[in-house]
């Protein structure tokens, strides 16, 4: 068990700054996901926590102590990688026992721990088989079990599920959650898949270009993104983000999109944009779930005409790709009977509209600390 503190951690590779002044406080027993696109620096960050990579500047503390002088093997950290590092020339049993044998535990204790872990991973019946005979799914299960059996105080997982097929991935997600529940380890989980991050972690650190964009509980990050990047990255299907000029047409405030269409703005968003004095441009964010087909159902909701472009089935839902001028607007509305090519009226929920700065993508809020608006 251990807390981890990153203070202004920076890593440069030549001219490239992979991780830039990153601050992060990972509490004891937390399950934290490092989430971001390929090349954002999430794996580099994890490697520095592990001690595989040195820091250019900044410091990492474990329970308040610096570990820079401590050898990797003495840090008591468990790893699981994307390409399950298991010994294919050894039996499943030997793979599970390896970490314990290295630590010179008594044979009886090793046996007890290996069997308990095999039971947990439901691979008891395969203990004596060669690890090479396992399926891809079982190999990853074994890789996780092999790390967990040594009961590390920190567990680091680098995209451990990305090689697995969809069904097994969902199953392993649940399994990992149970594992963390029962051991109470501090877990750091690297992924580019926001669904994985949302469903597994207590807290998500969203990283872009080596910088921390937001750190918080999954639903807080989803409901109340601090900036445009987070708004776009978290949530599936992703949030609509419309760039335009802020204008007044008669009594109505609108966002004039690049090719001239007028997107009407609810009052809450107008108030949020007003917070940035003198701004002529703005970015409007709306989740597809907050757009419905038909005229406005509430006073503050706003309506616009759009053409149905593509209809996608996303799981049990139907996602409409709508065209407003040249802009794509995604909406989820199951009740609607629409066809591609049709021109329809859609409305946006006022409570679902978020405002972002056009200059730096910062979230603009109507009231300080207000959850939405």
């Amino acid at each position: 068990m251990s807390s981890i503190t990153l203070n202004a951690v920076t890593k440069r590779f030549g001219d490239l700054t992979a991780v830039d002044q990153l601050d992060l406080e990972i509490e004891n027993g937390a399950f934290v996901a490092l989430l971001g696109p390929s090349g954002c620096g999430k794996t580099t960050t994890m490697n520095m926590i592990a001690g595989i990579e040195t820091l250019t500047s900044g410091e990492i503390l474990f329970d308040g102590d610096r570990l820079s002088g401590v050898r990797i093997q003495d840090r008591n950290i468990g790893f699981v990688f994307q390409n399950y590092a298991i010994f294919t020339h050894l039996s499943v049993y030997k793979n599970l026992a390896y970490g314990l044998e290295v630590r010179r535990l008594p044979r009886a204790e090793i046996d007890r721990k290996v069997k308990a872990m095999a039971e947990r991973m439901s691979i008891t019946h395969r203990l004596n088989e060669s690890a090479a005979s396992l399926s891809v799914n079982e190999m990853q299960k074994l890789a996780i079990g092999r790390s967990a059996v040594t009961e590390p105080r920190i567990f680091l997982l680098d995209e451990p599920l990305s090689n697995l097929d969809a069904g097994f991935r969902a199953y392993m997600r649940a399994e990992l959650k149970v594992l963390q529940h029962s051991f109470g380890q501090t877990m750091v989980y690297v992924t580019h898949d926001q669904v994985e991050a949302m469903s597994l972690a207590n807290k998500i650190a969203i990283i872009d270009k080596g910088k921390l964009m937001q750190y918080g509980a999954p639903l807080d990050v989803y409901n109340d993104p601090d900036n445009r990047f987070v708004a776009n990255f978290v949530g599936s299907p992703s949030m609509n983000l419309l760039d335009g000029h802020l204008e007044q047409v008669g009594n109505d405030a609108v966002l004039r999109l690049a090719e001239g269409s007028e997107f009407p703005l609810p009052p809450t968003v107008v108030a949020a944009f007003a917070k940035e004095a003198g701004a002529k441009e703005g970015v409007l964010g709306i989740r597809p779930q907050d757009i419905y087909v038909g005229p406005a159902r509430a006073e503050d909701d706003r309506s616009i005409s759009a053409e149905v472009d593509v209809i996608e089935r996303v799981g049990p839902k139907r996602q409409l790709h709508l065209r407003i001028g040249k802009h794509d607007l995604r909406a989820i509305d199951d009740a609607a009977e629409v066809r591609p090519g049709e021109r329809i009226t859609v409305s946006v929920k006022a409570s679902g509209c978020l405002a972002f700065s056009a200059t730096d993508g910062r979230r603009l809020r109507a009231t300080a600390g207000g959850a939405r608006g």
Binding site: P37, A166, D193, V195, S199, G235, S236, E312, G315
Partner: protein
């Protein structure tokens, strides 16, 4: 543009037999092939392309048997998962490679390149090498190399599987738009059911080398032909309960959750019935006395929806609720299935 027809296509491998497969892919169709790993998806594409000689059966392109026709004369383009771009060539050279190889005149190569660059929005990256491009850009260059040949049809083998989750969502709509705007025939293979179902006009579900069901995505999702298809399509997967007919067959009891429902007529005389209910068709209704009393084991709040794991009689089942309901672990929920959305399957797994 082309219609592709498979008639009794069979290929025997040492430990696996593909087929016999009968399929017709219509002209200008976005046709998806979906199945679990090693169900034979890629082999079908390879047979169409001519890289795999079937043991039996015929492949017809626009009504013409192509059995003896070599790969380069079938005029089909394939896009692979690992893209297979030349790392030392620029985007432009990668795209035009098939044309320069075929010895087309420079003017023709240039005009085709211009057209492809406009359709795929790659004009700004043509001078870069693959190593300098993002995953999505490399993907578009690989598509460009297929497009520039102006083939009769495109065969795509998990073309976006290697991309980040977010980019995949964007690319798949892009592919659909391309196919529709240019009236192409696409045969699209993937092991990601959401991806295939979201963009295909029709989908073939492949199980153990055989076609289990063919139809539009809605039909496959809403009326799966067998238990196996029902379990393959949908995430989280469909809940399956075992059933018993009671009261002389007028009622059906879902055994694990001790819920009795009126039995539809088609259940009469059936044995070992199972009932499938999709997670989004289990509704919370505190007012119902006849309900599944499920204890919440875990919750997965995903923002737009929430997945609840609950247990009843030692069996785990899942609910998919819209929005962000406040539900705590260990809470006991009264759950009723939407009576319109029950799937019954017989002893052999066939839909009843």
């Amino acid at each position: 543009m082309a219609e592709i027809r498979l008639e009794g296509l069979t290929k025997r491998f040492p430990s696996f037999t593909l087929g016999p497969i009968d399929l017709t892919i219509h002209d200008n169709e976005f046709f998806g092939i979906f199945g679990p790993p090693s169900s034979g998806k890629t082999s079908i594409l390879r047979a169409m392309l001519g890289l795999l000689n079937p043991d039996e059966g015929n492949i017809l392109i626009n009504g013409e048997d192509v059995s003896g026709v070599s790969v380069d004369r079938r005029n089909l383009a394939m896009v692979f998962q690992n893209l297979a771009l030349f790392p030392h060539m620029t985007g432009r050279e990668n795209i035009t490679f098939p044309l320069t190889e075929a010895g087309l005149p420079t003017s023709e190569v240039d005009s085709r390149l211009d057209r492809v660059a406009e359709v795929l929005h790659v004009a700004h990256i043509l001078h870069k090498q693959p190593g300098q491009m993002s995953g999505g850009e490399r993907q578009r260059i690989a598509l460009g190399r297929a497009f520039v040949r102006e083939p009769q049809a495109f065969l795509l083998d998990e073309p976006i599987a290697a991309l980040d989750a977010r980019l995949r969502e964007e690319m798949r709509v892009e592919l659909k738009r391309l196919q529709r705007e240019n009236d192409h025939t696409f045969v699209y293979v993937s092991h990601d059911e959401e991806e295939v179902l979201s963009i295909s006009d029709r989908v073939a579900i492949l199980l153990d080398g055989r076609v289990a069901q063919v139809g539009p995505p809605d039909e496959i999702y809403d009326r799966p032909i067998s238990l196996a298809v029902a379990q393959l399509v949908g995430s989280p997967p469909i809940n399956v309960f075992s059933c018993e007919l009671i009261d002389g067959g007028s009622k059906v009891k879902l055994v694990e959750c001790d819920l009795t429902l009126p039995a539809p007529p088609q259940l009469a005389g059936q044995k070992n019935i199972s009932c499938g209910v999709r997670p989004e068709h289990l509704l919370i209704d505190a007012g119902q006395t006849e309900a599944i009393k499920g204890t919440v084991v875990a919750t997965e709040p995903l923002g737009g929806f929430t997945i609840i794991d609950a247990s009843v009689g030692g069996k785990l089942f899942k609910l998919r609720l819209t929005g962000q309901p406040k539900i705590a672990e260990d809470e006991v929920l009264s759950v009723v299935p939407d009576p319109e959305q029950l799937h019954f399957f017989g002893e052999e797994g066939q839909r009843l």
